[in-house]
Symmetry: C2
Subunit: 345 residues, 2 copies
């Protein structure tokens, strides 16, 4: 995305001003030059206070996340694509088909308009690929020093297609625990650029929308008990959340968890445990053991989940995550006290 | 709200840390101490990635806004109640019954936890009064100096109850233009505290949810053609937006527009035109002239619109807002070039 060309009458030397966040002509100019041509669609073009859409099923899922990743651009994506993928994935994790997202931008005065256009373009590509609409958007500008370039808050609306509730409390003893691919790549990608580590080739974020394998599993009749995308806090944290919220017993095999060598190397340099490092295009699925093989087959039909593996089983102590280490000893995989990696998403 | 008491194990000397925005135990403590007890409801308590709700009609409205008001507390409200009202009102302006909102918080390291609790409490009261759910929430913490206390992005989902499209393009020549009450109070309230003006008694923001008079008009069979809440840029700006987007002719009477004396006085001191100052609890409605009196009657049944008046008619030059001044001369009411009041919402 570094060779992005700005297709409108601003140049790289133009920067966001406070008045771009207001309601006057200057704000209109920014909207007309950047957001409308790049993000426009029949819903947004109405320029009204809200967009109206039809959801036949009548059961909808809603979600929200604020994105404050620093730096805003990293190998494999930027804050714009990240916001789309994170929102689409949260909806998918509830067994919902993503339909529309809304985006609220808080931009620091002085942010480059060419960067804004690069982000908008990346949003456009991500929503098109995920077949969702940008149904609503808002822009606010804050004074220099009162922000950090750009923050994006996204909310999403989806149509629930899963019949049974996909929740931690639905996890059943004996469930197979599946993981859609290698872990830790998003966090490693962001940290290498943030810390200026030279990694050749660069580690690319795994940031991607994962709704397709999820919806395909549902269509194939897999009785998914629980889903969770492996974001903040990494695999260890999300498994702990499921164990706590669902009083579920979770036991995984360290051997089975795919971590790329370059990710392991970067984590060693930075003193991080890859099991606590965020992904943005990976998820765990709890399914009945006798459906696990079929579920893996379905997942692997999609690029984003072609590395799907079975990593464990719902057994052991309720509410606890245990991991069988490489030499066969069981240990408890706990929550960290504080935050390993701030502003990773 | 200044005498707010924090009902949990934090004191006013406790401040938000970076780790409160993460995924570890410290973040859990903040969520458990502030957000869950105050904002909790059956949807949010599931602690899942998204909330699921039933919308029978199948037609939904979605909207989003980022709130960056400075200072975060002002007479008549704070950034929390403002976020709820703004979102509820955007939905109402599409003829939708507000159902659920989502909230994404970007909090600066060092923000007082007691202030966070005050804001959460204010959100709780506002959503309860408007009968909407907080369906999803997210918290991110950014380093000191990379934010300004707190920013909140809200998104909303509503069930569309209007049968005909409520849009600028639906405005019809001859429509009566109604305004739900006096203008400029929100902007004046925020500016007096921001600039340290001593006004006694203080000017209170008009921030409020206005969905009730709107839904009541629809129930009463009023054929509403267009609605717009009078926010950023004030009455003059939103009328210009409608004129431009709907190619509508708009003519209003300066005499008919209610502005309180204290608001006029503060605007004179600050060099502002009250017609360009934001409200957060006022709206304009375009309705067929023969339904105008009935519409005003319905609106005035609600406290929030008891000052509703007819301010003009859809006639004159298409795409232009004209105002008959106090001495009877018509002048064009244009968009401002830049922003009169940054960070007013």
């Amino acid at each position: 995305m570094n060779n992005f060309h700005c297709p409108f009458p601003y140049t790289a030397t133009d920067f966001v001003q406070l008045s771009h966040g207001g309601s006057g002509r200057i704000a209109q100019r920014l909207l007309d030059a950047v957001f409308r041509p790049i993000l426009g669609n029949p819903l947004l073009d109405l320029k009204h206070d809200s967009a109206i859409l039809a959801i036949p099923g009548g059961r909808i899922a809603i979600t929200t996340d604020a994105f404050v990743v620093h730096p805003w651009r990293f190998p494999g994506g930027n804050i714009g694509s990240l916001a789309v993928h994170g929102t689409v994935n949260d909806l998918a994790m509830s067994g919902a088909r993503p339909v529309a997202i809304s985006l609220a931008f808080v931009i620091e005065e002085g942010f480059a308009i060419s960067a804004l256009a690069e982000i908008a373009q990346s949003i456009r590509e991500s929503v098109d690929r995920a077949s969702v609409y940008v149904g609503a958007a808002d822009t606010k500008v804050v004074e220099r020093g009162k922000g950090d370039g750009i923050y994006i808050s996204a909310a999403g609306v989806g149509e629930v297609v899963a019949v049974n509730p996909i929740l931690p409390t639905s996890v059943t003893e004996g469930d197979a625990i599946l993981l859609s691919g290698d872990v830790g790549r998003h966090g490693a990608a962001v940290m290498t650029v943030r810390d200026g580590l030279e990694v050749d080739p660069p580690i690319e974020s795994d940031s991607a929308a994962v709704h397709e394998p999820v919806l395909a599993m549902l269509e194939a009749g897999i009785d998914i008990h629980c889903l969770r995308d492996v974001t903040r806090g990494g695999l260890a944290t999300v498994l702990n959340e499921i164990a706590t919220d669902g009083s579920a017993p979770i036991r995984i095999d360290e051997d089975k968890i795919p971590v790329r060598e370059d990710v392991t190397a970067v984590c060693e340099i930075l003193g991080l445990d890859p099991l606590y490092v965020a992904c943005e295009g990976r998820f765990v699925a709890f399914v009945p053991a006798d459906q696990a093989e079929r579920a893996l087959e379905v997942m692997r039909q999609f690029d984003v989940a072609k590395g799907a593996v079975r990593i464990g089983i719902a057994e052991g102590t309720k509410g606890r995550v245990e991991m069988k280490g490489r030499i066969g000893v069981l240990r408890i995989l706990d929550l960290l006290s504080g935050e390993q990696l701030p502003r990773i998403c």
